[in-house]
């Protein structure tokens, strides 16, 4: 029997070493920059609605038993009481109950989230990880430009009609994003026209009816444009 060097087929990974894999990564989450600021904002929103709850939820018109503490103890059968127990359903169907349940979840969740976010923020600072939110804030602000585009498009449709507005915005916005030249212009124009054909001409979805541009057209053309575009 000959003995030689043991040949072991070694497994060689095809994945680069910077991609260490764990199945837990699927559910991974890290609070990043901007988390604290947004958590503060959400906590303020929760506070606003909590204050509003007392005058904007039907709370002021509530109908509750005279001694609420005793009533609840009787509800749970902890104490025996005299007389008929008023149905809990009479309370549950009052308008303020659902907002009260919502506030009972929202406010503690907002406070706990704020606390957690602050702890993470301090942890990041302690271990010299970036905490400034200027980059994140710049991203949030830059999105406002496109919110403006959407609003402008929405306002343009009743003036110029769905067809013209879609063709203009469908080519102008890509141009703004850097897709310039005749090739991109043709692609975007064709895609915009296809959207109008599919949704307005084909599926007949509702679009504004009082369109300024169409009112300048002769009757026949106006009717045609209103029906199909």
């Amino acid at each position: 029997m000959t003995t030689g060097p043991l040949k072991v087929r070694r497994f060689k990974s095809e994945t680069p070493p910077d991609r260490k894999f764990k199945v837990d990564d699927l559910l991974a989450f890290r609070r990043g920059r901007g988390d604290l600021a947004f958590s503060i904002f959400i906590a303020l929103v929760a506070l606003f609605f909590f204050v509003s709850f007392f005058f904007a939820s039907g709370w002021d018109g509530r109908k509750l038993p005279d001694e609420m503490g005793t009533y609840l103890l009787r509800q749970f059968g902890i104490i025996e009481g005299e007389g008929r127990l008023e149905r809990l359903g009479r309370i549950l169907k009052q308008g303020w109950v659902a907002p009260a349940i919502c506030m009972a979840i929202l406010v503690p969740a907002a406070v706990l989230n704020l606390r957690k976010s602050r702890i993470t923020h301090n942890w990041r600072r302690r271990f010299k990880q970036p905490v400034e939110m200027s980059y994140e804030a710049s991203k949030w602000l830059s999105a406002l430009e496109f919110v403006g585009w959407f609003i402008a498009y929405t306002l343009a449709v009743p003036i110029f009609g769905y067809l013209v507005s879609t063709l203009v915005f469908g080519t102008a916005l890509p141009w703004r994003m850097g897709y310039r030249g005749w090739r991109w212009f043709s692609i975007c124009l064709a895609a915009s026209f296809a959207i109008v054909l599919l949704f307005r001409t084909g599926l007949q979805i509702k679009t504004p009816v009082n369109i300024w541009l169409y009112s300048l057209l002769p009757d026949g053309a106006r009717g045609f444009m209103l029906t199909w575009f």
């Binding site: 609070r31 990043g32 549950l92």
Partner: protein, 497 residues
């Protein structure tokens, strides 16, 4: 059996078959483009389908829902970018196989695994309907208002618990969605809740406005403020027809993963990620080569893709049986059901059994169409993964207008939708989950309605849980909460928050 044939007859209509075909191929393309997921596509298409026939609109959206995950595997395997979020795990093994020149093998294995996962849960649902259907007709009598209330509460708890690392945030966003559901005039008592004298708010927020804003507009803003990817050109060599033969070698992994996908799909609020998590971990534990997982293991690819695709059909079950959607996509489907005049819930087994068969038969056909289409056209579909992200963002923004405006011709709807979109954009930037907002809105509405409707039956708090179904569901809620609390206490002593 009569319901089965009636359901099949309804599906055999030419318009329905065309809708299935368009939905399947469209969903495939939508899934294959990184940046558009089924949620965005369905959110945009939802208002447009109001103008179509009931079953036509439903199967169209089902096509998108059922086929997008197949398409999502293509960029995940070829360019390491998941087409839909649930294909993230596919990148680990699928793309590693591409890197060693086995792209065609990975794709064909992914398709066959997806097909098996999808068909497994659909066939299971169909068989269950055939066997238990006649008995389920009395299910409506078992489920009262309080039972549905408790089922919705369980859905909410499971949804939050399923967000393991972001449970606090999921609770907060769920409550925010619940708050959005609350806004408006309560019709019975004429009480204005959080309307602040604004006329628009008296009618409350429309679900589609919130959905389009949170999913579609936010994604458009996210893409527009980001950068275009520059993916490497993928080379696809070899045949795609060997997947099923190879899958047979991994039949145990495929079977277990399909079971996980089906079970996790049935549980409201859980969905694909948890199904993948369990199936992948189990497959790794059973494997003779666990070290290969994450580095191009065919078993890993089979586990993730099978589990993914078993979920959509299974996720329809809680929606249909209880009227409680377990995820964002089924919540959107619920809107279509209502438009079609079909109220999901226990009564559906009595009132529309044929509709149930139509639905699952349609899903089966969708799976067959998609796998055939993929086997013959992957090389062409693979080209659309290179559409620039920011260009997609431009057109998602334009399409969102159609989606919102067509609901009730309201510009105010568009303004609120863009407001929700901006909120969703910030949430996406922070990596906060979006689904709890929408499910908070949907499940919150259900809970309010059922609690109010069942209030005449409630004398004491014990009346909420003294029925067999509501009592069982309440016990499950308590068990889930206790298990979560114990798990959280165990994890408490970690250095990093």
């Amino acid at each position: 059996m009569e319901a089965f044939w009636t359901g099949l007859d309804a599906i055999a209509q030419p318009s329905v078959l065309v809708a299935i075909l368009i939905g399947s191929i469209g969903g495939l393309a939508i899934g294959a483009v990184p940046g558009i997921g089924p949620a965005i596509a369905i959110a945009i298409l939802l208002p447009a389908t109001v103008f179509l026939d009931d079953l036509v609109s439903l199967v169209l959206l089902l096509g998108v829902y059922g086929s997008s995950m197949y398409g999502g595997a293509i960029p995940a395997i070829l360019i390491n970018t998941p087409g839909t979020p649930v294909n993230a795990l596919t990148t680990y093994d699928g793309h590693a196989m591409t890197r060693r020149g086995e792209a065609a093998r990975a794709l064909s294995l992914a398709y066959s695994a997806s097909f098996v996962g999808g068909c497994f849960s659909i066939c299971l649902a169909l068989i269950a309907l055939m066997i238990f259907g006649p008995y389920l007709r009395n299910l409506g009598a078992l489920f009262g208002q309080r039972d549905i209330f408790m089922a919705a509460a369980l859905g909410a708890v499971l949804l939050i618990v399923a967000h393991r690392r972001t449970m606090g945030i999921a609770t907060l966003l769920f409550a925010l969605g619940f708050l959005i559901a609350m806004v408006g005039r309560q019709s019975m008592r004429q009480i204005d809740r959080f309307t602040f004298g604004i006329d628009y708010l008296y009618a409350g927020f429309n679900l589609i406005v919130v959905i389009v804003g949170v999913f579609a507009i936010s994604q458009a803003l996210f893409l527009l403020t980001g950068k275009d990817d520059d993916p490497p050109e993928a080379r696809l060599k070899g045949t795609l027809f060997r997947g099923f033969a190879e899958l047979w070698r991994h039949k145990i992994v495929a079977g277990i993963s399909a079971c996980y996908g089906t079970i996790m799909g049935i549980i409201p609020g859980v969905g694909e990620f948890v199904a993948q998590f369990f199936s992948y971990s189990t497959a790794r534990a059973l494997s003779k080569e666990p070290a290969r997982f994450g580095h191009g293991s065919p078993e890993g690819l089979v586990a993730s893709e099978t589990a993914n695709n078993a979920v959509p059909a299974a996720a329809m079950i809680p929606l249909l049986a209880l009227g409680v959607p377990g995820e964002a996509l089924t919540a959107m489907m619920m809107v279509v059901f209502f438009d079609a005049g079909i109220k999901p819930g226990p009564d559906i087994f009595e009132n529309n059994p044929d509709f149930l068969f139509s639905l699952f038969i349609a899903l089966l056909i969708i799976n067959v169409i998609v796998v055939i289409a993929l086997l013959f056209s992957t090389r062409w579909i693979a080209k659309i993964i290179y559409i620039p992200n920011r260009l997609l963002g431009c057109f998602i923004l334009l399409l969102s207008f159609v989606g919102v405006f067509s609901i009730r011709n309201s510009f105010t709807d568009c303004m609120f939708a863009v407001g929700f979109g901006y909120l969703g954009y910030i949430l996406r930037r922070l990596d906060w989950p979006l689904v709890p907002i929408v499910l908070g809105l949907v499940l919150g509405s259900i809970m309010i309605e059922k609690l109010s409707a069942g209030s005449s039956q409630i004398k004491t708090v014990f009346d909420l849980v003294n029925r067999p179904v509501s009592g069982t569901l309440f016990a499950v809620i308590c068990l889930v909460l206790i298990a979560t609390l114990v798990s959280a206490l165990r994890r408490r002593n970690t250095l990093q928050p």
